[in-house]
């Protein structure tokens, strides 16, 4: 199953270095509203230099920070910001980490070219994920006001989340207004201007642009960009859109019509979900499961799509109905084809207190057994790809083997449990939800956690990311390289 991927990794990535990943060159996530970027969505994004983009619009991707990470990767040194992959690889068992999945999509010639480049060279992207602004009608529990205006409104109404101990809590203490300093519709945003300035050159090499948000279908800039694409056909470009599929019937029709009329090579739709029914509606506030599924079916039946993928953010709560959710997706796969929908499993990193690893060991064991049983009985090669198999296998290993979450500074489980309880108590109160009714299996454990009421009240903070990682991640001592 993953033997081919391991061979590919050795032949194409590890021959350059054991820390090499082509995504650091050819892939970027760029948040134009904030002015932040990262290559691959797993590392925390870092700020784009406003001065640099005045003379070099490609610096919305080719930042000084990324160039340093590229040098590390060419030298065999593991950037700390890529710890998600290093933890997976250090588990052993020949696990395939995301650097393989994120690199295998590029031509071998393009990967080989990197070895010849100066690490300081500017590079044209092959795959780009970009968000114009944070306008969103959902306020998912693991998201925050920096990426959702609905989250921002909640924080403005109720104030910052209180009585929390871990660094992750910082994300829930900002209303996200820092990311709208260039106007609500980005009319004065220099990052958006740099993007449109770079676009004529970038579009010559770009193979895929994936637009995310917020919710893109609610963004003025998104529809402006669609007009640019309509008037400038890009026959080699794949357009992908991340949508929560919680849109109105009118917007649904507009989106489907767009897929049928736009002049690009092909269109992919990505949406997000990882649990079933009431669990999904709890985790992803704003989602109505039946509406989401109905819109999904509408896209599958009427839109002109190459594929439709469901991004699953694997958090502690979704594990209770992840198999029921996948059963539901199997129904669709059987009807519309194995890649409609695809599933893409990503293990949650932030906030750390929502990580699957926070759950008590006995609960993890129970869930691991349930997931393993489903894997053995339901995951069949005719419906799931090699990548989907490997990702699910990796999830099983991850729950069983990894003892720490992805945040070494937050490895005190007591603090994580504390914030788990403290967060959901406030989340319930603000959103009119009920944790114990929704997840009765966790009720006894939940009741044992006491929230420390002596923690001083905090005020609203600025909220921008200041703790992105720039150092190196050590190899395990037993085998240095």
């Amino acid at each position: 199953m993953s033997k081919e991927l391991i061979e590919w990794r050795e032949k194409n990535l590890n021959k350059i270095s054991k820390s090499f990943c082509a995504a650091k060159w050819y892939n970027a996530s760029i948040h134009l509203g904030h002015g932040y970027t990262g290559s691959c969505h797993l590392p925390l994004p870092h700020p784009i230099d406003l001065e640099e983009i005045k003379t070099n619009p490609s610096a919305i991707h080719n930042t000084k920070h990324k160039k340093q990470m590229r040098k590390m990767m060419l030298s065999g040194i593991r950037p700390a910001e890529c710890s998600y992959c290093w933890k997976i690889e250090d588990i052993g068992r020949d696990n395939v980490s995301d650097r393989v999945y994120k690199s295998i999509i590029y031509d071998q010639d393009d990967i080989d070219k990197i070895e010849e480049m100066d690490y300081r060279d500017d590079v044209l992207l092959k795959t780009l994920e970009i968000s114009f602004d944070r306008t969103c009608n959902f306020a998912c529990s693991y998201c925050n006001a920096g990426y959702s205006t609905t989250w921002g409104k909640e924080i403005q109404k109720f104030g910052p989340y209180q009585k929390m101990k871990t660094d992750s809590a910082g994300a829930y203490r900002s209303d996200g207004s820092w990311s709208e300093v260039f106007g609500k519709h980005n009319e004065r945003n220099p990052f958006v201007q740099a993007f449109f300035e770079w676009w004529p050159e970038l579009s010559t090499k770009l193979e895929e642009i994936r637009i995310t948000g917020g919710e893109p279908s609610l963004s003025h800039n998104f529809w402006d960009f669609i007009e640019v694409l309509k008037s400038n056909p890009s026959p080699n470009l794949r357009l992908a859109v991340n949508s929560n599929l919680g849109m109105s019937p009118e917007t649904l029709e507009k989106m489907i019509e767009m897929t049928n009329t736009i002049s690009v090579k092909e269109v992919d739709i990505y949406t997000s979900n990882e649990s079933y029914g009431a669990h999904a509606e709890y985790i992803r506030d704003g989602l109505v499961y039946e509406k989401w599924r109905s819109n999904l079916v509408n896209f599958l039946e009427r839109a002109n799509l190459r594929s439709l993928t469901i991004m699953m953010t694997i958090n502690s709560l979704c594990l209770y109905s992840i198999t029921e959710f996948l059963d539901d997706m199997i129904v669709l796969k059987k009807r519309y084809g194995a890649n409609k929908p695809n599933v893409d499993l990503n293990i949650l990193r932030w906030p750390a207190f929502m990580s699957p690893l926070v759950l008590p060991d006995e609960i993890k064991k129970e869930l691991h057994a349930k997931l393993t049983k489903w894997f053995n009985e339901k995951m069949t090669p005719n419906l799931f790809s090699i990548g989907e198999f490997a990702q699910f296998q990796r999830l099983l290993d991850y729950i069983q083997v990894v003892e720490k979450g992805h945040v070494t500074t937050e490895d005190d489980k007591e603090k994580l449990h504390h914030d788990f309880k403290s967060f959901y108590v406030q989340y319930d109160s603000r959103r009119g939800k009920n944790f114990k009714d929704t997840f009765p299996e966790l009720s006894d454990w939940y009741d044992t956690i006491k929230v420390d009421q002596s923690i001083p009240t905090v005020s609203l903070n600025d909220g921008r990311i200041t703790h992105f990682e720039s150092g190196t991640y050590p190899y395990p001592p037993a085998k240095i390289i």
Binding site: Q68, K71, M72, S75, G76, I77, D118, Y119, R120, T472, P474, Y475, P476, P477, A478, I480, I481
Partner: protein, 193 residues
């Protein structure tokens, strides 16, 4: 080979005899604004159990410490800011190691046996002094009585390359008046302090 015993460090400081004695003395290699390589083959007599300095360039510090957990590079830039960069490594006694420190494309890289372990990005120039000197087996002069971190170590080979030119090479098998002879004939002697 050169056996350096604890509390008996050696030093490369040829231009102490006169600032114009050597035009580009090898002891100023870490002050060089261009590219360089510093390659040292050494062997430890015992496993590393405490902080021990393999070499240190003074007075503006640039050096490698061996630690029980691994390796530490200490770099000072010309604004006086000091960076401490570490990497895990397991040292073994009675095994030869090749340390290679390169500066290229404004990056200082530390390799052990061909594996890159530490990168330092040179944003500001590296600190530079007229009277730089490199101490082997300690982090300071014994008379100063601080930051000594003595090391028992055997040196087998040292080569210093400035841009693409080898400006000093020691095989530590030729000694003149107690000083290790530089086979490039550039007179970058190394002697006991």
């Amino acid at each position: 080979m050169l056996k350096i015993k604890e509390e008996e460090p050696w030093i490369m400081w040829p231009n102490i005899l006169g600032q114009r004695f050597i035009k580009d003395p090898a002891n100023r290699i870490f002050d060089h604004e261009g590219d360089f390589k510093f390659r040292l083959i050494f062997e430890l007599e015992e496993p590393v159990s405490k902080k021990s300095t393999l070499f240190a360039k003074l007075p503006s510090y640039f050096g490698i410490d061996l630690e029980d957990y691994g390796i530490l590079l200490i770099v000072t830039d010309d604004k006086g800011k000091t960076e401490y960069l570490t990497c895990n490594f397991q040292w073994e006694a009675n095994k030869k190691y090749e340390l290679l420190i390169t500066k290229s494309q404004e990056v200082v890289t530390v390799f052990i046996d061909g594996n890159a372990l530490i990168l330092y990005f040179v944003d500001q120039k590296l600190a530079s002094d007229e009277n730089s000197h490199i101490i082997f087996g300690a982090g300071n002069f014994p008379k100063n009585e601080f930051n000594l971190n003595y090391l028992n170590v055997t040196l087998y080979e040292l080569e210093i390359i400035r841009d693409d030119e080898s400006i000093s090479k020691h095989l530590f098998d030729d000694f003149i008046h107690g000083k290790s002879y530089d086979i490039t004939e550039n007179c970058n002697f190394i002697h006991q302090i």
